[in-house]
């Protein structure tokens, strides 16, 4: 077997050194009734590389990849081009096959990239500090809600009707398990600021999103003012990190905590994971933050170096008093983010964001011109919702028959008849003018 270096002779020699009669001697603590004789039933035996590869190619072949034709889905995961060098960097053995940098003398590679990552995320969000990443945007959102309750010593969080429904669900789950009340305002295309009227003296935080799940961009500054007037925190959510190159940032809107999905930068769609959650906050809140933090320090000989720090917040030290049970970050995905961001720079990100907005505007222009279609999203970055005269699933299936993946039916995210005829569509720099024309052309045929 190709992954097992021991030879039968090695095994015998080693047993002799140990003084054990056989491998079975090591398993005598296992209750006899629970011991399995021979290979477990119901599973195949080992296979060569070629056989395994063939099986996976067959499975992959049953999936329609985003690059196989016009493709327009976003809704929390976005198709962007990732430079070839990014994947080469994350496949470096020294990054790929190492552990959490607990021994900083021999993990400066990982630690320095985390420090760069934290700096980049702080600057993108215009927040004071960022952590070394979370599992994904939705779990980052849930952790932000719980953190706000720790900071304010209150037990109520309020989410706008524009927060991604999966984020609402993840937040509700974690909060309710801890006895925190969760108020989620009814889904609404353009009502982030309704949170202003919802806040009260029992509220730990207001959670609003821009661009929200319908694509709507909102200046959320009034949420910050309203929250702070009640001594609550304002949590600003985003699911499309590329948007931060162009639109108003959480920091500029007065957010206390900013959370979002970083997949858009440096990471493939991967059918939903692994992704990389971004988490940033005001400096005064850092000791209540969840997750890993990397900090700068000096070595015994005075050289600059980096270490994991403030670990007294974390479960491996604090156990039942930790700020979170989180043990890993999303290290390799964060490296992908950092490497891609290092290539783009601020200039490239801003240009990329503009290209996204322009192609989405082109698509909106064409779709809006189709009689019977109503564009619902008033202000957007690269994603918008529109209503069709026919049920969304019929329309999308008809587009799919022409090899166009036209978006996601809103009712898949919001299982409510209100959204039956609504489609959520995103366009990125990966879409060409031809894609847009094909989409609009077929859409026009389909609804008539």
């Amino acid at each position: 077997m190709r992954y097992l270096p021991l030879t039968p002779t090695d095994r015998q020699d080693m047993l002799r050194t140990i003084g054990a009669p056989s491998i079975d001697a090591f398993y005598t603590d296992v209750p006899h009734a629970a011991q399995i004789e021979g290979p477990i039933d119901g599973l195949p035996m080992h296979q060569g590389e070629f056989q395994v590869e063939r099986h996976f190619e067959a499975l992959a072949g049953k999936n329609r990849a985003a690059g196989d034709g016009p493709f327009f889905i976003g809704a929390g995961a976005y198709r962007h081009h990732v430079p070839a060098s990014v994947d080469m960097i994350i496949q470096r053995s020294e990054f790929l096959t190492t552990y959490t940098p607990y021994q900083p003398e021999i993990a400066q590679g990982t630690l320095q990239t985390l420090f760069e990552f934290q700096t980049q995320v702080s600057e993108l969000t215009r927040m004071d500090v960022a952590n070394a990443s979370m599992y994904d945007g939705s779990t980052a959102c849930a952790e932000a809600a719980v953190m706000a309750c720790r900071v304010t010593k209150r037990k109520k969080v309020i989410l706008s009707g524009g927060v991604h429904p999966h984020y609402v669900a993840a937040t509700r789950l974690l909060c309710e398990a801890q006895g925190i009340e969760v108020v989620a305002l009814p889904a609404a295309i353009d009502a982030e600021l309704a949170l202003v009227d919802a806040v009260d003296a029992a509220t730990a935080c207001l959670i609003g999103q821009s661009p929200n799940v319908f694509g709507t961009i909102t200046d959320l500054s009034p949420l910050s003012d309203a929250a702070h007037a009640c001594k609550a925190l304002f949590v600003s959510v985003f699911t499309e990190a590329v948007a931060l190159g162009l639109i108003k940032t959480p920091g500029e809107m007065g957010a206390d905590i900013a959370v979002g999905e970083g997949q858009s930068i440096g990471n493939a769609l991967n059918f939903g994971g692994p992704y990389v959650g971004l988490f940033a906050c005001r400096e005064k809140l850092i000791r209540q933050m969840p997750g890993r933090l990397c900090g700068q320090t000096v070595s015994a000989t005075g050289e600059r170096g980096f270490v994991l720090t403030l670990s007294t917040r974390e479960q491996h030290i604090r156990r039942d008093k930790a700020t979170s049970n989180i043990c890993t970050n999303s290290g390799l995905c964060a490296l992908g983010f950092t490497a891609h961001m290092s290539l783009l720079g601020g200039t490239g990100l801003s240009r990329l964001a503009r290209l996204n907005h322009e192609i989405a505007c082109d698509l909106a222009d064409e779709i809006e011109a189709i009689p019977g279609i109503e564009l619902l999203t008033p202000r957007f970055f690269n994603e918008f919702a529109f209503r069709t005269p026919k049920p969304a699933d019929e329309v999308l299936a008809a587009l799919q028959a022409h090899n166009i993946i036209g978006g996601v039916r809103m009712a898949r995210l919001l299982p409510d008849r209100t959204w039956d005829n609504v489609i959520l569509t995103a366009a990125t720099e990966c879409n060409t003018k031809e894609d847009v024309d094909a989409f609009a052309g077929i859409l026009k045929e389909v609804i008539q």
Binding site: Q108, T119, I247, A300, V307
Partner: protein, 524 residues
């Protein structure tokens, strides 16, 4: 000296001398000096060739960023060189034995990486029409069925994002089951052994439970008398969180009795599956009375650790907990088509809800299933046996000098205490001296139940030759520690950096790069 709570010094000794000659470049032979990207690149440049935008911004509604993004953009040669130089400051499995106990640093097969990058897996969107991702759903279903067969449990939740997230999944399922029984308000107490991973108590608290710690006995197992004592009052018992094999590298001999006692008390048995790699293919946790167990795909099933994630923590569930599993769930319809149930309806009406966006760590699923198919039922069993054999071989060789924490054979990891060391020398000194020998240190100061613990897990992917080389080095360093060789306290001397000051890092946190103050530049 400043110490962390587990007794580990967090500041280097003063007066350490650099053993390298100073160089003008700051590089040392093959090790190139490398600054932060912010000190290398220009904020005005970009290393990505993109067309010039036409200048449309009419649909933004004026909600724009007021300041440009002040981050440098590096050309491809600069960026590649930057990260390759940094990578060379990392230890990695591909470089040598990585004996971190409880972390299972085994070889990461490259076939898995290749397959995860097939466009049919890497470039599909989680919300595509389900008819266009049947292969992906089939893959999730196949992996689920392997996990169910290997654990002997009837259900598995695939969405947890990492081990600790899987723990959360299992404990939330227990919470939901108690809720369904109308006992959630009374059953609050979760028993956790003192030797548990820190995530266990932290998870129980996150689910609103109260943690009650049980001590270990002299054999490193759960103290059964203490357990029975804890169960004298049983109406408030929600369950137990137990790692098996446990964090001392030992199989819990009384596991069946523990399961029975917990069940009789009306609680559930959560098993931390971090060490499943020691028994996979030989023992099915379902036969031990387990109700829920997360499986770290990055430990048992070889997905890369990536410098701290991404992990993946599918969680198997017993008949009693299965109805409460989180959504989404992949189901196979009678017509052979696969379908995602994404909300708590239909088959999932009793689900406790959704833990995360989308459907779990697909990229890790591909890798783990590729590993399983490569090994097969026979290979997985052999892998577990070789892991256990390697650990016992290390234990047998090292106990010539070092003090085993407990008598008898171990499972997949060997645990030693610092009893053999001379006064003034600590576990950290031995660990850091191993760096100079070219090895990543073992897990140190964990589990907490052993003084100055050193937990060594070689995994099955080491050859006998590598093991011997490693043992020779550890023995050499251990003899120096036993003899009180004070120079150990300066180690490492041959790493890219000497010991770092963690106390200063925590006292005055500097968590991002800041441009030098303007007057500092003027002064230069």
């Amino acid at each position: 000296m400043t110490m962390l709570s587990e007794g580990r010094p967090s500041q280097p000794v003063s007066g350490t001398q650099d053993h390298y000659p100073a160089t003008l470049s700051g590089s040392r032979g093959l090790l190139q000096r490398e600054d932060l990207i912010f000190e290398i690149g220009s904020n005005r440049e970009t290393g990505v060739d993109l067309p010039q935008p036409r200048g449309r911004s009419d649909r933004l509604g004026g909600v724009t960023r007021s300041r440009p993004v002040e981050l440098p953009g590096l050309s491809e040669p600069q960026a590649v060189r930057h990260y390759v130089r940094l990578s060379q400051r990392n230890y990695a499995i591909d470089l040598g034995l990585f004996p971190l106990g409880s972390c299972t640093m085994k070889h990461n097969p490259r076939l898995n990486e290749k397959l995860a990058r097939l466009p049919g897996f890497a470039n599909i969107h989680p919300l595509q029409p389900q008819s266009s991702v049947q292969g992906a759903l089939q893959l999730i279903d196949e992996l689920a069925s392997w996990l169910k067969t290997l654990t002997g449990l009837p259900a598995v939740a695939m969405s947890p994002k990492a081990g600790a997230h899987g723990e959360l999944c299992g404990m939330l399922a227990i919470r939901e089951a108690l809720k369904a029984r109308g006992e959630l308000s009374t059953r609050r107490r979760v028993l956790v052994p003192a030797s548990a991973h820190g995530t266990n108590p932290a998870t129980a608290i996150q689910c609103g439970f109260v943690v009650d710690e049980i001590k270990a006995d002299a054999r490193g197992r759960v103290d059964m008398d203490a357990l029975r004592e804890k169960l004298r009052i049983r109406d408030d018992i929600a369950g137990i969180m137990l790692t098996n094999p446990n964090t001392c590298g030992l199989f819990e001999t009384d596991i069946r009795t523990i399961a029975d006692l917990i069940h009789e008390a009306g609680g559930y048995f959560y098993c931390d599956g971090a060490n499943f790699n020691a028994i996979v293919g030989r023992v099915r946790p379902g036969d031990l009375g387990v109700d829920a167990m997360h499986i770290n795909l990055h430990k048992t099933f070889s997905t890369p650790h990536g410098g701290g994630g991404p992990g993946s923590g599918p969680t198997v569930l017993s008949e009693a907990l299965a109805p409460f599993a989180p959504v989404p769930e992949v189901v196979r319809d009678p017509d052979g088509n696969y379908r995602l149930v994404e909300n708590a309806v239909d088959e999932c009406a009793q689900s406790f809800g959704r833990m995360t966006a989308f459907h779990g760590q697909m990229g890790m699923f591909v890798r783990a299933l590729a590993y399983m198919l490569s090994h097969g039922a026979d290979g997985l069993r052999q892998a577990a046996e070789d892991a256990v054999l390697n650990a016992n071989y290390i234990q047998a060789r090292l106990k010539q000098v070092m003090t085993p924490a407990f008598d008898g054979y171990c499972m997949h990891e060997a645990l030693f205490s610092d009893a053999f060391m001379a006064d003034g020398i600590g576990t950290i000194d031995l660990a850091k001296a191993l760096i100079d020998e070219g090895y990543h240190p073992m897990t140190m100061y964990f589990p907490l139940v052993v003084h100055g613990a050193m937990l060594i897990e070689p995994t099955e992917t080491e050859s006998k030759q590598e093991l011997d080389r490693f043992c020779d080095s550890v023995l050499l360093v251990a003899r120096r520690a036993a003899a009180g060789d004070a120079s150990l306290r300066q180690a490492p001397l041959l790493a890219p950096l000497h010991r770092l000051d963690e106390t200063q890092a925590a006292r005055k946190p500097q968590l991002k790069w800041s441009p030098p103050a303007p007057n500092a530049i003027a002064a230069e």
